[in-house]
């Protein structure tokens, strides 16, 4: 039971995490606000209106200290939802762990660090694909050398599906991205069994119970075969499929929002039946606003009913042997293999992204899906059938502008108080390394320790790598 949540200010995030850890919950999911995810400081003009909205704002090590300082970090095992600036977020967390005296060998947690799906679907890219791949592999290499308990990457089919892909495309793009990462790591000189056990997946789950369960089963087989047969892994841990899933936000409706509670329950059940290790249930008001306290609680209770009352989680692979689910699983596996073969025949995933083909294929599927709803070919209860004009008013989460004001005041104080000569030296060293070919985790750590901000660090890298401009549509 992992719930994704952002809590505006670093102070509130700290309090929430202290409470959750006190209740015995580990595996804290950290949602960052969009400026942080995109490497902008809170006072950047582009951050206006977005500071502390979809997650917590982290400008410098000081904010990370506020969030995690004094907490039992070995138990916290945070999942940092960062991609294009994942190296910066990890460096900040490591610097806090150092201050707290946690030995590197005992630091655990996860970085999402799946940049390719950002180009295909989620959109929080900064640099062009190839330098982005370098940062991704730098992070994996650093973890392989220094952090045996850190999960270096969470490969996401989820966002591809939410951007409108089919179920087959979701698995195919996630695995084709995984292949691209694995090949880049091998090229860097890493051994497959040294890093493969640190890769995990995140998928979406829609309401079609049997198709989704079959998808998870097919993905498990595909991953195992890929690692054993294609990459010659020797350790079972390398081909073991570790996956979380989340309820498909795009299937949740603004109309009759309480119906979404039922949808989310079905989606989570599909995840359990398909054997995912963790599930994130969405809040029923997801199509209307960010979750309110009440809707977030209902989402958690849904998981608890499934876990403790349904009995669905008591047995491994309960659908195994069902003629329908087995044939669906075989069919999905074959279609995914054909899709990946085509991507590779056309030059691989990086090329498909650079040429905008992957993005266009997903956009076409999204359009097809919407026209099916508009024509009535696909039923969405409360939207194109069984409508009700009297949708109940529900209590909604409201953004709070005072979070941005406090964040910007703190940032200005930091820029005044820190040793700015040390910051300049650290940023210059980072720039030098970026122009060369060394692992950028090391100079990033130095810059973070000197209290360089995420905007300053990313601006140095923007200067060297340039910024990605999406192919026009």
């Amino acid at each position: 039971m992992r719930q994704y949540a952002g809590f505006g200010s670093p102070e509130e995030t700290h309090e929430r995490f202290a409470y959750l850890l006190g209740q015995g919950q580990g595996g804290l999911l950290v949602a960052f606000d969009l400026p942080t995810q995109l490497g902008y400081d809170s006072d950047d003009p582009r951050a206006k209106g977005e500071v502390g909205v979809v997650g917590v704002a982290v400008d410098s090590l000081r904010d990370m200290e506020t969030i995690f300082g004094g907490l039992p970090l070995e138990q916290a095992s945070p999942s940092l939802t960062m991609n294009s600036a994942a190296t910066v977020a990890l460096a900040m967390y490591l610097a806090v762990a150092e201050q707290e005296g946690v030995p590197a060998a005992r630091i655990s947690g996860t970085t999402q660090n799946d940049i390719l799906k950002e180009f295909i679907a989620r959109g929080t890219y900064i640099f062009p694909p190839r330098p982005s791949m370098r940062l991704t592999v730098d992070l994996i290499e650093y973890c392989t050398t220094n952090l045996p308990r850190w999960n270096a990457m969470n490969i996401c089919g989820y966002h591809v599906r939410e951007a409108g892909s089919t179920l087959v495309q979701e698995v195919a793009f996630a695995l084709a991205n995984a292949i691209t990462y694995i090949e880049a790591c091998l090229e860097r000189g890493l051994e497959i069994d040294a890093f493969a056990p640190r890769l995990a997946f995140n998928f979406s789950s829609s309401c079609n119970l049997f198709q989704e369960a079959a998808k998870f089963r097919a993905a498990r087989r595909l991953w195992a075969r890929l690692l054993r047969e294609r990459f010659g892994a020797k350790e079972p841990a390398s081909w073991m499929w570790r996956a979380g899933a989340g309820s498909s936000g795009s299937t949740l409706t603004a109309q009759q929002p309480e119906n979404n509670i039922v949808r989310v329950a079905l989606q989570a059940l599909a995840g359990i039946l398909g054997g995912v290790q963790s599930f994130h249930t969405a809040a029923y008001d997801e199509a209307l606003a960010l979750p309110s306290e009440h809707s977030a609680l209902v989402a958690l209770r849904t998981q608890q009913v499934l876990a403790y009352e349904s009995g669905a989680a008591e047995v491994v692979d309960p659908l195994g042997g069902s003629y329908y689910v087995e044939s669906l699983t075989d069919q999905i596996e074959q279609e995914v293999n054909r899709y990946i073969a085509r991507i590779e025949a056309e030059g691989g995933m990086l090329k498909a992204i650079e040429e905008g083909r992957a993005q266009a294929e997903v956009a076409q599927s999204a359009y097809n899906y919407q026209t099916q709803i508009d024509s009535g070919e696909r039923t969405v209860v409360g939207v194109n059938r069984f409508q009700d004009q009297n949708d109940p008013a529900i209590e909604l989460h409201r953004p709070r502008p005072e979070i941005a004001e406090a964040q910007i005041a703190g940032l200005r104080a930091l820029r005044r108080d820190r040793d700015n000569a040390a910051v300049s030296r650290a940023l210059a060293a980072l720039e030098n390394e970026a122009k060369g070919s060394g692992n950028l985790m090391y100079p990033t750590l130095e810059a973070v320790r000197a209290y360089a901000t995420i905007g300053e660090i990313c601006n140095v890298l923007r200067g060297v790598f340039g910024e990605y401009q999406a192919a026009s549509y």
Partner: protein, 135 residues
């Protein structure tokens, strides 16, 4: 409708702010093209200023703005202010995305012509635009 027009309706589909959720924007752009309109899609992370400038340069009939990050109140206010500053407030602005009812009223006071929330059909949006833009 469209064949009665001398020239196709020109639409700017814009994504202001930092959010990367452009599924809706792309699906809508596709549907508008199917309906015979000429569509310019800005891509992600455009500032309000950039959006107003593109609208003027491209001489569009309608601007459709999509926001799913929760930053809609600030972003729409800046776009509408930019339109007035450039004396371009004759171009109707439509909005779409995850926008709560109470904010819809506020955005309409700012001059946003209509807001389409998740579940709106593509034909509802394209027909609205065809009715909005004189032939």
């Amino acid at each position: 409708m469209t064949d009665l027009r001398k020239s196709p309706i020109r639409v700017l589909v814009a994504k202001p702010g930092l959010d990367g959720h452009d599924r809706g924007a792309k699906v809508l752009a596709h549907a508008m093209r199917e309906a015979g309109m000429e569509v310019i899609y800005t891509g992600l992370r455009q500032t309000p200023e950039m959006i107003v400038n593109v609208a003027l340069q491209e001489d569009v009939d309608v601007i459709c703005v999509s926001v799913l990050s929760g930053a809609h109140n600030i972003l729409f206010a800046e776009i509408m202010a930019g339109m007035r500053a450039q004396a371009a407030d004759g171009i109707p602005v439509l909005g779409g995305g995850v926008i709560p009812d109470q904010d819809i009223a506020l955005l309409k006071e700012l001059g946003v012509r209509e807001i389409f929330t998740p579940g709106a059909s593509l034909t509802a949006i394209t027909s609205y635009i065809e009715d909005l833009v004189p032939a």
